[in-house]
């Protein structure tokens, strides 16, 4: 079974600053993938970034990057140059041969 834990219910960041959202996971699968999804007030689920567990190189997508520590089972999301549009719920998720398992989410506020 897989579990995903997000220990920060809420975070805030000043516009243009950098923020890191934490995520830890547990899985018994050897091949798995990790994801960060963004859910703005519109309720859509938007894929932010994906990491393949067998790749040591951390994934990056423009202002979004991850710090993947496989031994520690940690998968944090770093948002650089934060923008007002980044305000949303962020969900960490894990999947392997089983469907996605989500954490409870972190609500990110961006202060102008």
């Amino acid at each position: 079974a897989q579990t995903v834990t997000q220990s920060q219910p809420e975070m805030s960041v000043q516009e243009a600053e950098t923020v890191t959202l934490s995520c830890t996971y547990d899985t018994s699968e050897s091949d798995y993938y990790l994801f960060w999804y963004k859910q703005p007030p519109s309720r859509q689920m938007i894929l932010v970034i994906r990491q393949e567990a067998y790749k040591q190189q951390n994934a990056t997508e423009n202002r979004f990057s991850v710090n993947f520590q496989k031994a520690a089972k940690s998968f944090s999301l770093k948002i650089s140059d934060s923008q007002l549009g980044d305000a949303a719920m962020y969900f960490c998720a894990s999947s392997g041969n089983t469907p996605l398992v989500f954490g409870k989410g972190t609500r990110l506020s961006v202060i102008a």
Partner: protein, 114 residues
């Protein structure tokens, strides 16, 4: 680009009523999923399907039924609505699962049971 389409977007039901939440995808994805999202929580898997005619239970299947007669459609049925089923329901699809293919989500259905 339609992607994953869910209907209705909002619905209010009385206790004991039944209804079907519709989900359709036009991406020829094999895998489809139903999640529920309770306030302040992440998404929990209700049922999923790996192809037409094949469905399997997720984490919270009680009180729900599904069917998958075509690749495109994956309806979710509530037979006897209960207040505990008040939630936002998301349908999703993906081409594959074990290869880390991202899931594409619909816009959700907000369901209130009074």
């Amino acid at each position: 680009n339609a992607g994953v389409t869910q209907t209705p977007k909002f619905r209010i039901l009385k206790i004991g009523q039944s209804m079907t939440l519709q989900c359709a995808q036009d991406m020829n994805h094999n895998y489809m999923y139903w999640y529920r999202q309770d306030p302040g929580m992440g998404l929990k898997l209700i049922y999923y399907s790996v192809g037409a005619g094949i469905t399997d239970k997720g984490e919270v299947p009680n009180g729900y039924n599904v069917s998958r007669s075509t690749t495109e459609d994956f309806p979710l049925r509530l037979e006897l609505a209960a207040p505990s089923q008040t939630s936002v329901y998301f349908c999703a699809s993906s081409y594959d699962q074990g290869l880390g293919q991202p899931q594409h989500f619909g816009d959700g259905t907000r369901l209130s049971i009074l």
